[in-house]
């Protein structure tokens, strides 16, 4: 069985090779060749992934009614101690396959879409090189067999995200956005790393399967050791979650995500909507056994942060006017949903939240990628990000319009689109765990429908474009991916997730709650109707509402001033006080001491130098005096 999976290594190697090739030869290759290299490599990887999924779910995966985790290969890369080794491997289990499918599918479509979107841009080849690097890193992350491999690729996706956000590197806003994204996630990764180190120290392994084997027995001894009121295991898992929260833009580490929209839109679609930002969810899901058995308290925190982020982002999304920022906050909100679902989930039979979370991750990838690519098509056509300057575009961009509408319906949870099914499961899981989560989830569902249709109406309806407008539909290389993703958004909800992806690999019986579904659809419809009333036609109603909310509206519009708080802490306190103090201290105290020693020596020597007068007679005095003193001393002893 091991040998039959050897081909999986090509899933990793091909995009990497494309990156190396495009990266080294970016100056020499013609644009078509460069994009062809990247696209062909990712298409082959996608094909292999689909084949792997097919083989796994129908043939090799199942043993005794349970989906098993299989290591396709696991090669030692760096040896710390006998038991602690970084290995590079390929783990095949339901969630890794699900993620592989998502990553390769969205990547392929985004790659193809980019041919049109990036046409004529400077650094076209570089763009494809970075995209290939990202795909490689993301797949490496997904199939990681151990924590450290995940950390390695975790960092690599971080850096590819950095490179792609800063793609327009001569634009200062893009540069600072990329820096911000990297540094914030890096800060979160510090937590992840510490978590890994703690876990591995007590568990004596990095391997996911070993750590979570026997329901986390390997690390359960950590539960006994406590530090500041929480068991070390909880601390470790909380730290690991910090890493996930940073990558997934959970409150309060979310500040980088809206700014990350400075990157080209395909990048936002691929990285900051469909794949990389859900890595945090994936991480928690990957370690779910350990969380569930070792630290339910941390899971509670995960749920709280997820729920809060979902609400927080949804509220902000209602006030933004930049089309990509609205989508960014919507992403954050949806990921908060997934996190919450994980947090409220139990194990085995109570594992609905887990399944729902993965399900939502899956469906979300399709419709959110679709939303971003649609937004990209719109921006490509009208050359602005501001939805106040759009309006009435439905006539000019028919395909974008239809696909965007489908995505909006999907994210709002209108049946039979994909989002309905996954969202319904999440809400059911939340309801089982606690009403407060359900309440938040329910509210967010309504808000989501509202702000998505606010976006939809403002872009495609509202006022009309000026008659002489030259806005036209994008080329087919961009619209075809839209159509494919729209199909995905319609049908992804029918995948029987309960049968495939569960906490313990066994089939989870999911039931359909008619009343819950009705309620969800109801609130979504309310949201849609409200936004229709506000935004379908030009009106001053939104303005008036905003005015009446006053300070609260402004606070929300300014994203609760989080950027400013962070800026204050970093610029003023850390750079302004600590760094400046150290720079001063080093130059004046430490170096000053050294210089003072040097000065003192010079001073003493200048004093002593006076003895070296050059006056022979003075020397003679000293010499004779010295001789006499020695003589007298001898004499004294001789006399005794």
């Amino acid at each position: 069985m091991e040998t039959s999976l050897n081909y999986t290594i090509w899933i990793l190697i091909l995009p990497f090779a494309a990156f190396v090739l495009n990266g080294l030869l970016s100056k020499r290759l013609p644009n078509q060749v460069a994009s062809a290299i990247s696209i062909i490599s990712i298409l082959i990887a996608a094909a292999l992934s689909y084949y792997l999924a097919f083989v796994y779910f129908t043939d090799i995966g199942k043993a005794a009614e349970t989906f098993m985790a299989i290591k396709a290969f696991d090669q030692t890369w760096l040896r710390f101690t006998e038991s602690l080794q970084i290995k590079i491997g390929f783990l095949v289990d339901p969630i890794s396959i699900m993620m592989l499918i998502v990553v390769t599918t969205v990547s392929s479509l985004v790659f193809i879409y980019s041919i049109g979107y990036m046409k004529g841009e400077k650094g076209y080849n570089r763009f494809f090189a970075f995209l290939s690097l990202f795909s490689f890193s993301m797949m490496g992350l997904v199939v990681a067999t151990n924590l450290f491999q995940m950390y390695i690729f975790w960092e690599l996706v971080g850096v590819s995200s950095f490179l792609l956000i800063g793609y327009y590197y001569d634009k200062p806003s893009a540069v600072s956005a990329s820096k911000k994204a990297f540094i914030v996630t890096r800060f979160a990764d510090l937590g992840f790393l510490l978590g890994i180190l703690l876990l591995s120290y007590y568990g004596n392994s990095f391997d996911f399967l070993e750590i979570s084997s026997d329901n986390g027995a390997a690390v359960s001894q950590m539960g006994g050791i406590t530090f500041m009121g929480m068991s070390v295991l909880s601390w470790a898992l909380l730290l690991v979650f910090t890493g996930g929260a940073g990558k997934s833009a959970m409150f309060p580490l979310h500040i980088w995500l809206p700014d990350a929209m400075e990157g080209p839109t395909p990048v936002s679609a691929l990285i900051h909507a469909a794949t990389m930002v859900v890595a945090g969810v994936y991480l928690v899901a990957r370690m779910f056994t350990v969380y569930s058995f070792g630290a339910p308290d941390v899971l509670e925190i995960v749920a709280i942060i997820g729920a809060f982020s979902a609400l927080f982002a949804a509220v902000i999304a209602c006030t933004q006017f930049d089309i990509k920022r609205v989508l960014a906050f919507s992403t954050m909100s949806q990921i908060g949903y997934m996190m919450m679902a994980l947090g409220v989930s139990g194990y085995a039979a109570e594992g609905l939240g887990f399944t729902a979370s993965m399900f939502h991750l899956f469906t979300h990838a399709f419709f959110k990628a679709l939303l971003f690519l649609g937004a990209g098509a719109i921006i490509h056509s009208v050359h602005t990000n501001d939805i106040r300057e759009m309006g009435g575009l439905r006539k000019y961009l028919p395909i974008s319009h239809i696909t965007f509408l489908i995505a909006c319906l999907a994210i709002s949870g209108i049946p039979p689109f994909a989002g309905f099914f996954s969202k319904d499961e999440i809400l059911a899981a939340a309801q089982m765990h606690g009403m407060i989560y359900f309440g938040v989830g329910y509210l967010v569902a309504g808000l989501t429908a509202f702000y998505m249709f606010r976006l939809y109406f403002m872009v495609f309806w509202n006022k009309n474009q000026p008659a002489e407008s030259k806005v036209h539909e994008s080329p087919s290389v961009m619209t075809i991916p839209l159509i494919i993703l729209a199909l995905g958004s319609i049908f992804a909800g029918f995948v029987p997730f309960g049968n495939l992806i569960t906490t313990n690999g066994q089939v989870l019986e999911t039931e359909f709650h008619v009343s819950l579904a009705a309620a969800t659809v109801g609130i979504a419809l309310v949201g849609i109707v409200v936004s229709y009333l506000f935004y379908a036609k030009p009106s001053d109603r939104p303005e008036r509402i905003a005015k009446s909310l006053g300070g609260f509206y402004r606070t929300v519009y300014q994203k609760f001033y989080f950027d400013e708080i962070y800026l204050f802490i970093t610029q003023r306190i850390i750079f302004g006080i600590f760094s400046a103090f150290i720079a001063w201290f080093d130059r004046n105290i430490v170096d000053g001491t050294i210089n003072a020693i040097g000065w003192l020596t010079a001073w003493i020597s200048s004093r002593i130098k006076g003895l070296q007068s050059g006056q022979v007679q003075q020397y003679a005095y000293v010499f004779l005096g010295g001789v006499l003193i020695i003589g007298l001393v001898f004499f004294y002893y001789w006399m005794r």
Binding site: L78, F80, I86, E155, F187, L193, L197, L198, S579, D586
Partner: protein, 498 residues
């Protein structure tokens, strides 16, 4: 002649060659050919070491040779290498090779410059092959003294001040070191009857605690000064910023590693009990170094100062790891020495190249260089990424090994300092990205930057050589890590008292 002695003979022959030839072109080509040979020799050494180790895995030191030098004082020309020394020799020959190309266009007294530079490298090679403390000290001094001339004559800015400060501080350190070495020598004489400088004979001597308590701080600080141990690091920013490019490369890339190597092979290997007892004091200092260097960078505006402080931070990590007293962390320390040596050499080379084009080293005066100097900029970004520990580049391997090793000490004191040290990676990311952002990205700041010329062939050669090594170690670290790990056995045995 044995392969190790050749490592000294080749630079010396190159020196002779340089002094015989005439003209800039001949001089630099002689230097390049000589150092190229040296590089090949080192590569050959690595392979023959791996071969020899494969045949007899139990042996610690290979290619040994012992020639009596001063019989009455029991000073011997004792040479030999273990995996650590092999790694360091490899690093040195890479850095000196690229350093020659980095000073390709030097106009002013080029002959003397190359002579001093290669003399310095000969000292470093000698240091790493020595198994005798006297010899080691001799080569140490040989490596330090040309530095004074190199900075004082070919430097820039307040070069006399910097050269004087650097030399005096390093000399101060080596004075302490000498006292420590003499204590070891006479201590061994008093305890066993024959005073000796030989490392392994000294290791076998069981010094009483009262002497060890003197020897350890003397040797550790003595080597620590050159390893930029807080608060003895202030020579580094001034020295590096005044030094010419190749000297900065060699100094930060290799000379600072003598400190770490010496601390490991002398301070800890020879007096393990005192090391275990007093290590915590120095652990605090190194912990401060790591964080202090990193935070100190943020406010700097001169590229060389930036790199000098970041070297303080990274070299602090080396000493920090050594003081963790376990095999993994020490392995990480050596890896970090290699990795930092490569990337800091690359940094200084690139800074020199940028400086020669833009005429400034101040970050805020540059901007948007990515547009006009794509090759150098990409190299700079890669060096930066290596420095902040991106997987796939050498920095990650070293740092992770250190952190995992450091985490094996589970008491609160070590934990706290480990976490402080780990936190430095975030600060590192901050300053690296700030510099990269200000320097390379964004719009082009000045009109005159519009028509700068990108790297010439020799600059490309230097850059690519270093980059290849960084990427090579980053992608396939296992052989290097294992090579070092196997050579740490004896030190660990000393520490655990086996």
């Amino acid at each position: 002649m044995d392969i190790l002695t050749l490592h000294i003979v080749v630079p010396v022959l190159t020196l002779v060659g340089i002094s015989l030839v005439k003209g800039q072109n001949m001089t630099r080509w002689t230097a390049a050919v000589g150092m190229g040979l040296q590089l090949l020799l080192s590569v050959y050494l690595v392979f023959s070491y791996l071969d020899a180790k494969g045949i007899s895995p139990e042996t610690e030191v290979f290619f040994t040779r012992s020639i009596v030098w001063f019989e009455s004082l029991n000073i011997r020309y004792d040479i030999g290498v273990d995996g650590i020394a092999v790694a360091m020799i490899m690093l040195t020959s890479i850095v000196i090779f690229t350093g020659v190309f980095a000073s390709w266009e030097l106009k002013n007294m080029y002959k003397e410059f190359f002579i001093a530079l290669i003399l310095l490298s000969a000292g470093v090679f000698g240091f790493f092959i020595s198994q005798d403390l006297f010899l080691m000290f001799l080569f140490f001094e040989l490596a330090v003294i040309p530095m004074y001339l190199l900075i004082g004559i070919w430097g820039s800015g307040p070069k006399e001040y910097a050269a004087m400060k650097l030399t005096l501080m390093l000399m101060g350190g080596s004075a302490l070191l000498l006292v420590g070495i003499l204590l070891l020598y006479f201590g061994a004489g008093a305890l066993t009857g024959t005073p000796t400088f030989n490392l392994h004979e000294l290791a076998a001597v069981d010094f009483p605690m009262e002497i060890q308590r003197w020897i350890f701080p003397l040797t550790f600080i003595g080597f620590g000064v050159i390893g930029a141990l807080f608060p003895f690091h202030t020579w580094s920013p001034d020295g590096h910023s005044s030094a010419p490019t190749a000297v900065s490369m060699l100094h930060a890339g290799v000379l600072m590693k003598l400190g770490g190597y010496g601390c490991l092979k002398v301070a800890i290997y020879l007096v393990p009990e005192a090391a275990l007892e007093m290590g915590w004091i120095f652990l605090i200092l190194t912990g401060i170094s790591v964080m202090y260097g990193a935070l100190g960078v943020i406010k700097q505006t001169d590229l060389k100062y930036i790199n000098a402080y970041s070297s303080v931070s990274h070299c602090g990590l080396v000493l920090f790891a050594i003081l963790m007293f376990n095999q993994t962390a020490m392995n990480g320390a050596v890896l970090q020495m290699v990795s930092h040596g490569l990337m800091t050499a690359l940094f200084f080379a690139l800074i020199g190249m940028l400086y020669s084009r833009t005429g400034t080293r101040l970050v805020h005066e540059m901007g948007g260089l990515m547009k006009t100097l794509p090759f150098l900029s990409v190299a700079y970004v890669l060096a930066g990424l290596a420095s902040l520990g991106l997987p796939g580049l050498s920095g990650f391997v070293a740092e992770m090994t250190i952190f995992v090793g450091a985490f094996q000490n589970s008491d609160l004191f070590h934990r706290v300092f480990t976490i402080i040290a780990i936190s430095s990676i975030v600060v590192t990311a901050v300053y690296i990205l700030r510099v990269v952002g200000a320097l390379l990205l964004g719009p082009i700041k000045k009109e005159k930057f519009m028509n700068l010329k990108d790297a010439t062939w020799y600059e490309k050669l230097a850059t690519v050589t270093l980059l290849l090594c960084i990427v090579g170690i980053g992608l396939a670290p296992l052989w290097l890590s294992d090579m070092i790990m196997n050579s740490l056995e004896s030190i660990i045995n000393q520490l655990t008292g086996l």
